[in-house]
Assembly symmetry: C2
DNA sequence: CTGTTAGCGCATTCAC
DNA sequence: GTGAATGCGCTAACAG
């Protein structure tokens, strides 16, 4: 790279000089145009063009205490489950002038606090967490920061600050109710070992009213782990009628393994997943699962953050976006006519 | 929120006072410990604990010209294709003390320059782009910035700066060669309309030596679009023997639609995808596709950025990570024994 | 509507 | 080894 060609980046000072105004007038013309006359704004904007000025948000943020940065914490970026949320969050924030920094907490929460410190050093204007903040220390730290925090994809009577999510206990209960309504009694569970999946299992068991065979796999669950899980479950009860799986990939694995063993789905064994991944509707058999509107979660989270940052009082700081069971072939729904 | 509890965040000044040293000594104790005595370091670290000090990277970056920020540009966060790359990039950067800010360019490149300006205002220490930088203006701007830029997932004889990718033309050629080697002559293409997919199509056609029926769908391609694409292709040639698809979801759609029409895959029609998505190995039939090591791309990109930032001269600024065709049932590979 | 002054929190000179 | 001054680029507060 010909570093001799790299000119020092233009500063607002250069713009002001070029436009023949003072530094602060140039600043206002760009970030608070209502305070400046139209002519001056035009002059400043012309000067921006000629100098190639690009603002320095490090400097602006240092003085104004507004970094225009929001931190997003997910268990892992590669978990497709949260993609619509991250996508919508990124986009909604961008439209309001904020950027997102993503951090990966992992599923064990051991890095939660260290990661939080790293992120706080950027002085973000808000934080969006996937799931609840787990350690008390982290929750206290976040509260003391005095910036808006949105927990998502879960529900709590004692959120750190704001929340957009739904009840995993209810999800589990709804699936169990659906199974029981079908007349199935020999039930099984294949579940990841993460917090939210555990809540769904609890809800499931509470509705069934007794314990059921459970294969637990390490999060993040996957198709391969699903195959192994069915293997385990059939050892516990070779005549299982229906299995709830804590994720769609897990359910897909259970189905693949069932078919490999010559079991028909749903005739011999019914399967329900969670998440409504994009492949769920197109598998053979198509997968009954629980749909959650991840994009809405992201959009609402962004909205809450932005509202708070602009000093508004948020009317509804806790939002339950709910869920719905999508019935498909893997629990016996009639195949829909294939449409284009 | 009890905002009365929010204390002003401790600054390095507070730490220095608490430790009984000067501001700069505290600074050095934390960021350049070799220059400070062990005792002093211990005292400063104790003061950090008691004050709950968390560095302000806005301030540090302003003075030192090192933001420890890297910008990552992807077409869309929800495209699973790039997930391993983003994941590995995030992790490798984190280990080196850098954070990633993700930006979504979309597939039309219209926002490329505006997005770039937004991102540059954070004064990142490096930029990683998925694909090549398209507009000359953007490329010039990046070069003038004087920060390391890594283009990925593509190849070019004239990269903006550094590059980690592979040849899409060669991918297309390899698939065509594979089809021809099987004796198939009635070929079709279902492809997204993005730049890289177009390159693969060109490579495919160059190897075949003539044009073939092509269904073009808007990127990002999807299962639903794949179904539509097959519909189109069969109208062009009802006796197609093999179809190359520019993504695995697209291929999945083609297969679903083929099966819905009573066509057997691969006996009546063979299908090859691109990307080796996680479902590819587990579909029925399993999907022949092209595997690219996305995680390695991310890791190498991070390495290049970090090396440059630490002043080292990068030995190999352009890396071709290659690709390989993974042969599975959708082009006639014998089903592997089902294993657990 | 515009300008002057001051300082955000830190790291890079220089001194000792 | 340690410290005192200076300023990174910008904006809040006050003046005019």
């Amino acid at each position: 790279m010909p570093s001799s060609f790299i000119l020092k980046a233009a500063t607002l000072h250069d713009v002001a000089r070029e436009a023949g105004v003072s530094l602060i007038t140039a600043s206002r013309a760009l970030s608070n145009p209502t305070l400046v006359s139209e002519k001056t704004i035009a002059r400043v904007q012309k000067a921006v063009e000629t100098t190639g000025y690009i603002p320095n948000l490090l400097a602006g943020g240092l003085k104004s205490k507004r970094s225009l940065l929001v931190v997003g914490l997910v268990p892992a970026i590669s978990v497709a489950q949260f993609l619509p949320t991250v996508q919508a969050l990124t986009q909604a924030l961008d439209e309001a002038g904020y950027q997102l920094i993503l951090g990966q907490t992992g599923y064990d929460h051991s890095r939660e606090e260290a990661l939080l410190n790293t992120m706080i050093s950027r002085r973000p204007d808000g934080i969006v967490v996937t799931g609840l903040v787990h350690s008390d220390a982290a929750r206290d730290k976040l509260r003391r920061l005095g910036i808006p925090v949105v927990e998502t994809w879960d529900l709590s009577d004692r959120p750190t600050d704001m929340l957009v999510g739904f009840s995993h206990v209810k999800v589990g209960g709804a699936i169990a109710g659906y199974f029981l309504g079908k007349g199935w009694r020999r039930l099984g569970i294949a579940t990841g070992d993460d917090h939210r999946a555990s809540l769904r299992r609890e809800g499931f068991l509470a509705t069934v009213g007794r314990d059921v065979p459970t294969a637990t796999v390490p999060a993040p669950s996957s198709l391969a782990l699903g195959r192994r899980a069915l293997h385990e479950l059939l050892q516990a009860d070779p005549a299982l009628q229906a299995i709830y799986c804590s994720s769609d990939p897990l359910a897909q694995g259970v189905i693949v393994e069932a078919q490999a063993r010559g079991l028909r789905v749903p005739e011999d064994i019914a399967v329900c997943g969670f998440g409504d991944a994009d492949f769920a509707a197109h598998m053979r058999p198509s997968l009954t699962t629980v749909h959650v509107d991840g994009a809405t979660i992201g959009r609402l989270a962004a909205q809450l953050i932005v509202e708070r940052c602009s000093g508004q009082t948020v009317a509804q700081p806790v939002v339950d976006v709910g869920f719905r069971i999508v019935e498909r072939e893997s629990t016996g729904a009639t195949a829909l006519p294939d449409q284009l």
